[in-house]
Amino acid sequence: MKKLLIVEDDTFLKNMEVTKFNKKGFDVTYASSEEEFDTELKKDPECILLDLMLPETDGFTLLTKARHNEATKNIPIIVFSNLGTAADIEKAKNLGATDFMIKAQFTLDEIVERVQEL
């Protein structure tokens, strides 16, 4: 069972993501702030789905943290946001994101499929 960490501050979206990934057999944990992210990072997730706009921090900061953490420096991290200018995508890729997906362009089934491919 793949250990997935979902970083999402919108409760409604987070609940749907958690429900869907649980149904598909993932071991899901979630974080909606930097503090929760730090706690969850210590549990060695195998994949991270990372939102960009978060309260008091942003996904780029958390991405950098994860890439400097020994246990998560090589795991797949998908930046999953409704931002998505060329500059955002380039920045995420430069910081080590495995992929950048714009939420509105995918159904949850399609996201699950992408995570299963990794």
Binding site: M16, K20, T85, A86, I89, A104, T107, D109
Partner: protein, 246 residues
Amino acid sequence: MNPEELLQKIEKLEQENQNKREVMSLVAHELRTSLTAQKWMLSMFLDSDFGPITDEQKNALTQGFSQNEHLIEIVTDLINFSQNDDMHISYNIVEANLVSVVDAIIAEFSSESFKRGVPILFTKPQKEIIAHIDIDKIKILLENLFSNALKYSNKGEGVEVALTQDTKNINIIVRDHGIGIPEKEQEQLFGKFFRATNAKEKESVGSGLGLYTAYMIAKHHNGTLLCHSKESIGTTFTLVLPSTVS
């Protein structure tokens, strides 16, 4: 106006443009988040994640899902428009293999092509074609052409894609056999907010900004976008890029 004043004026305008783009990006984020919530909720109902649904419920939810998809498309058009309606925006020009770029777009549209029953056939060139382009911008342009070709084709009609090169130009050709564009409306095709009358009948929702943005991107590459269309026969768009773009 002396050179110093002129420089200050340019800097001020650039700052204003940057502010506009930032505001648009934030507004787009909020709109997309709300539309994402609806999209995911509807698709989860359709996938019976919240329990079985009746055929009647499925029909209503499918219509709701489709309307929501149209709105997401319009928001994307608005974002692309806001980011490309300025000839002074800097482009990140790199050397790119166009076959790979076109392949990536075809992969992106494969499920849409399957859903609509409109196959995409790509005739690849004998050898690779390299161009100097901003890959993200050319993708936006091609996404517009592919999206239109699929939307305005009827089930069973194919979309043909070809890539050619001669000494002067590189051509990316996207041909459909769909509803076509009425001849008297073709002059306005690349204008802002234009939508052909028969396009409005087939797909009621659209921004009318997609082809305008595509045209601006082609111009930015010192290229152009050509259209040849006949109503009820089909439409061919050709993106013409110079063989060497500096």
